[in-house]
Structure formats: structure tokens, C-alpha cells
């Protein structure tokens, strides 16, 4: 599945197919997700919104193969993640994570931070450096290659994190509150970058957010409340109420 190029499959084949997943904690007493189903197609830009504690982060962890659902299944290009033997490899080659708090190594330069996921790839050292440079150029940081995170603005740090998420050419970019720690200007810059990646590179984006301005840029918004999908909203304004 990892060898599949973005254009090789038709847009209407789900890239991610979430089928009636449930996730509970503490021996079932806490039900974080209840019977959630939806699909994400290749090249889509999807926002997942909901109040704190609604199950957004749990859903992101499940989509990113960091956790397993208690019931139901998540299929990636038709293959259930539960049947994958090497989830590390799947994450390395398929998923790009963008975290709210960046998780950049403070002692590494931007160029070095971007190379971290590439250790699980096939590139040699020189090719890793070259690719990291290209990615930092792509996110507008060609003049900040040798800067450590402390010498970068928070917006620039998140751009480094986005470049890092793109390091292994993932099929899906999962972003967890990517603008949560940014001021409005830096946040807008990051969202512009997402738009650019989506438009020019056809990157599939799934963004968890509290912000309506983020959701406004997505093609589709999935509202979650109390562990269930509440609304599905298309960018054109079509709203489907799923549960209350």
C-alpha cells in the first residue's frame, strides 16, 4: 500500500475507512468513542471539531495507528490496521504527525529535526539532508536551516514540525491542534501552508481543531460530541446530523 502513488487510486476509494469503532478506558467505564464511522478520501482536507473531552484526540490516535479500537476497525486502503504486523513501518511511511506542542528537539537545528523520521526510511545521510532542505524551503524556512527551535518563532517551529511530518512523503497528515499554541497571524500562516500542501501536493489532511477558522478551510468538518459523530458538514454548507 505504501508504494501506491497519490494519483494511482481514484478519489472515491476511501483512503481511511473508519467502521463502527469504539474505544473505552479504565475497564470500560470511560467510553471515549462510541460507534464512530466515517471515511476519508485521498486528497481530502478534513477537520475534526468538538469540545474538550469529546474524543477527538482518541480518534486521532486511532487514525494514526498509535492505539487500537476496542471494537470496530479502521481500514487503510481497504486493509484493516489490525492485520498490519508492523505498525511502526506503517506510521513511518504513511502517516505524518503534526503536534500542538511541536515536539521538536531543542538541541537540534531545524534541518536536523526534519531528518528525524527519515531514519526509518531508505535515504542515505546526504539524501536526508538534501530532502530536509527541500522541505524546509517548501514551508518557507530556507533561511532558518541552522537555527535551533529556541531561535525560531512559534509559527516557524510549527512549520519545521510540518516539514518533519512530510519527511517520508506520507499519504496522510494528521494534525492535532496545529494552531493551538500559535497567535492568530502565525496560525493563519500555518493554515495557509496546509492549504498550499493540500492544493499543490494533494496531501490528505486530517486536522483536529477547536477553531472555526481552521474548519472553514477544510473541505469537510466532522463534529464530535461525547464520543460520537454529531454532525458532518461539507464546505458548501451541507449539514448531516448523525447523532445527538
Amino acid at each position: 500500500m505504501n508504494d501506491t502513488k497519490p494519483d494511482a487510486l481514484p478519489r472515491l476509494v476511501p483512503l481511511l475507512d473508519v467502521r463502527s469503532i469504539c474505544r473505552t478506558y479504565d475497564d470500560g467505564t470511560v467510553r471515549a468513542l462510541k460507534d464512530v464511522s466515517f471515511s476519508v478520501f485521498r486528497g481530502e482536507y478534513v477537520a475534526i471539531m468538538g469540545p474538550s473531552g469529546s474524543g477527538k484526540s482518541t480518534l486521532l490516535n486511532l487514525l494514526g495507528a498509535l492505539d487500537h479500537p476496542c471494537r470496530g476497525e479502521i481500514c487503510f486502503e481497504g486493509q484493516s490496521l489490525a492485520t498490519l504486523r508492523d505498525l511502526d513501518r506503517f506510521r513511518a511511511r504513511t502517516i505524518g504527525f503534526v503536534f500542538q506542542s511541536f515536539h521538536l528537539l531543542p538541541t537540534l537545528t531545524a534541518l536536523e529535526n526534519v531528518q528525524i523520521p527519515m531514519f526509518e526510511g531508505t535515504l542515505n545521510r546526504r539524501a536526508r539532508v538534501q530532502k530536509a532542505e527541500e522541505l524546509l524551503c517548501l514551508v518557507g524556512l530556507s533561511h532558518r536551516l541552522k537555527h535551533v527551535p529556541q531561535k525560531l518563532s512559534v509559527g516557524e517551529r510549527q512549520r519545521v514540525a510540518i516539514a518533519r511530518a512530510l519527511a517520508n512523503d506520507p499519504l496522510v497528515l494528521l494534525a492535532d491542534e496545529p494552531t493551538g499554541n500559535l497567535d492568530s497571524r502565525a496560525g493563519a500562516g500555518v493554515l495557509d501552508l496546509f492549504d498550499q500542501l493540500h492544493r499543490e501536493r494533494g496531501v490528505t489532511l486530517i486536522v483536529i481543531t477547536h477553531g472555526a477558522e481552521v474548519a472553514a478551510r477544510a473541505e469537510r468538518t466532522i463534529w464530535i460530541r461525547d464520543g460520537q459523530i454529531d454532525l458532518l458538514q461539507m464546505s458548501g454548507g451541507v449539514v448531516t446530523r448523525c447523532a445527538v
Partner: protein
Amino acid sequence: MRSLTIAAKNLRRRPFRSLLTAAGLAAAVAAIVALVGVAESFESSFLALYTQQGTDLVVQRRGGAVQLSKGVSLKLGQQIRELPGAGQVIGGLMDMVAFESRDLFMVIVNGWEPDCPVLDRVKIQSGRRLQAEDKNCVMLGRILAANLGKQAGDTVEVYGQPFHVVGIFESFSVYENGAVFMLIDDLQRQMDRPGQVTGYVVQANPPGDPDAVAALQSRIEALDPEIAATPCAEFVGSLNQMRVTRVMSWVISAVACVMGAFGILNTMAMSVFERRTEIGAFRAMGWRTWRVVMLIVQESLLLAGAGSVVGVAGGFLAILALAHWHVTSGLVQGDLPLRAVCEGIAMAALMAILGAAYPALRFARLAPVEALREG
């Protein structure tokens, strides 16, 4: 960028803590290098004392160690000389004395025949060698003379009696440089062992030929069932003093190793605990468990590497200090045996791996989502 770069830069995040841990490791490595180095040097110097003068066999009463309280007859020496395949035979009496006013303990006293080749082998720095007609006269090794502040022509008190210092000598051996030489008659009288020597060092003819040595060994032991003729290396290895030194150095090294491992364990556990969210992010990015474990072990090994460099230097300085301290200068050579360096570095690597193992394996069991959540 290599993963070693990440490990090295991670250590710079807490420079003071990394420095302290490396310093603790350096102390442990220094202790290992110094102790193993002294023990090794002690043994190799003692062996050299025999091998450099072409000795093949050491003849003593059975018992396995230096028999200072027992002796063998001077007549035995003549019997050995007459055996087929026997080359040079040197008999000597040996004792240990102390010069308490100078804090010098375990000073070796050798009693030699006036025509003994040992008296010709050593280089006279001042004065002269012992002669057959000398009574109550001694030669002092260079280090001992310096420690006692004596020169040729002075008088030194040994066994509570005054001895005339006829000469100061220098030998290739640190033990002889820290020793007193006197004629065997004088020493037999002081030790009340007339007609006896502590043992003989015997050269086979041809020297060093294994068959000739083995044949001569059998012939010597056939002379007297209470006599053991032992090849040099075996004799030195069997000495109780060598065994005790070796065991002591290993026991103290093991304790130093355990302490070092705890130090590095503490550092690595804190480091991993502080960075668990970050490591969780690494795992989310697809880093495999073994790669994370390797990163932690690499950090630990880098600390051990820094500790080893400083520790080997510190251990060498400690050996040099012991070689120059008047109390131990007659026993310790100022060299750094390669084996001590290798053992120090190997122990540091072991400490690093043991210290990193627990936090690394503990983290390896933690799911990335748990690590990210805990942050």
C-alpha cells in the same frame, strides 16, 4: 545527521548533569585502571625480575608462595649445578623489613653470595659493589636510598643494627630499586638461618628450551620430594601476594562498576522520564522500539566514553602518584598496562549498558500513545 548526533546533542540539554555523571564514571574508571594497573604492573614487574635474567625455574620448598619462613639448603644449589641440563644457578635469601621512621614497610632485603651475578648486573650509581670481605655492609636500591635520604658511605639501621652503605645501585626492576642487598652470610645471621637460602633461580641449558626446562624440572624435584621447581610465569601467578592483589583489585573494581552503573542508571532514568513525551513523538513518527533503545544506549555510551577518557587519564595519574610516593615507590612502577586501560574501558561500557538497560527497556514497553498522553 547520524543518530549519534542526536544522542550527543541530547546530553548537552543537561550539561551539568551529564558532566556530573561522566565525572562519576571517570572516578570509577580511574579506580579500575589504577587498581588493575598496579596489580598488573606488580605482576609483570615481578615476572620480569626473573625472565630478564633468563631464569627458567624457581626452586623453593613446596607450598606455592614465597617461603620467607622456610629455606632450602645451600648444598642443594651445588647439587642442582651438577645436574645435566642445568645452566646458571643463583641462590638467594630474602626477607622483608620496615623503616618505620620513614613510613616504609615491606622493604625487600636480598642476601646474595659475593660472586652472585645479580651484584654484577645492577648498575652502581655511587660507591661500589659488595665484596666477599664486607661485614655488616649493604647496597641500597636507588629508590630506597632516595626515600631514606642515604648515600654511599652513610650508615643505615637494619634489624636494629648499623650497616655501612657501600653503594647505591640501579636495576631494571622497581623491586630491586626499592630493596636492600647484603651478603648472604650477614642476612643468614640476622635471620638466624645459617646455611640456608630462600630459593634458587635456575637457568636451563639451552636456556628457554621447553624440553630442556621440563627435563631439568624433573631432575631437580627428584633431588628432594619437598622441593618444587616451578616455571617462572607459573611461580609468579601462584604467589599469594599476586593473588590477593588481583582479587582486591577486582573486588574494588566491581564495587566501582556497580556504583558507576547506578549513577548512569539514575541519569538515564531521569533523562528518559523527562523526555518521554518527546520519545513518544519519535515512536509516533515510526521510530521502532530498538531505535529508541539504541538512542538511549548511545547516550549512555557517550557518557561512558567521556568518563573513560578522563578516567584512564586519572588512573594513570594515580599510578604515577603511587610510583612517586615514597611509601609505595619501591613497589609500584609508573607505567600504564594496556590491559588495565582495556579493562577500564570495557567496565565503563558495561556500566553504560547496564545503566541504560532499565530505562530503555522500561520505555520499550510503553506504547507511544501512553508516552504522548503522559506528557
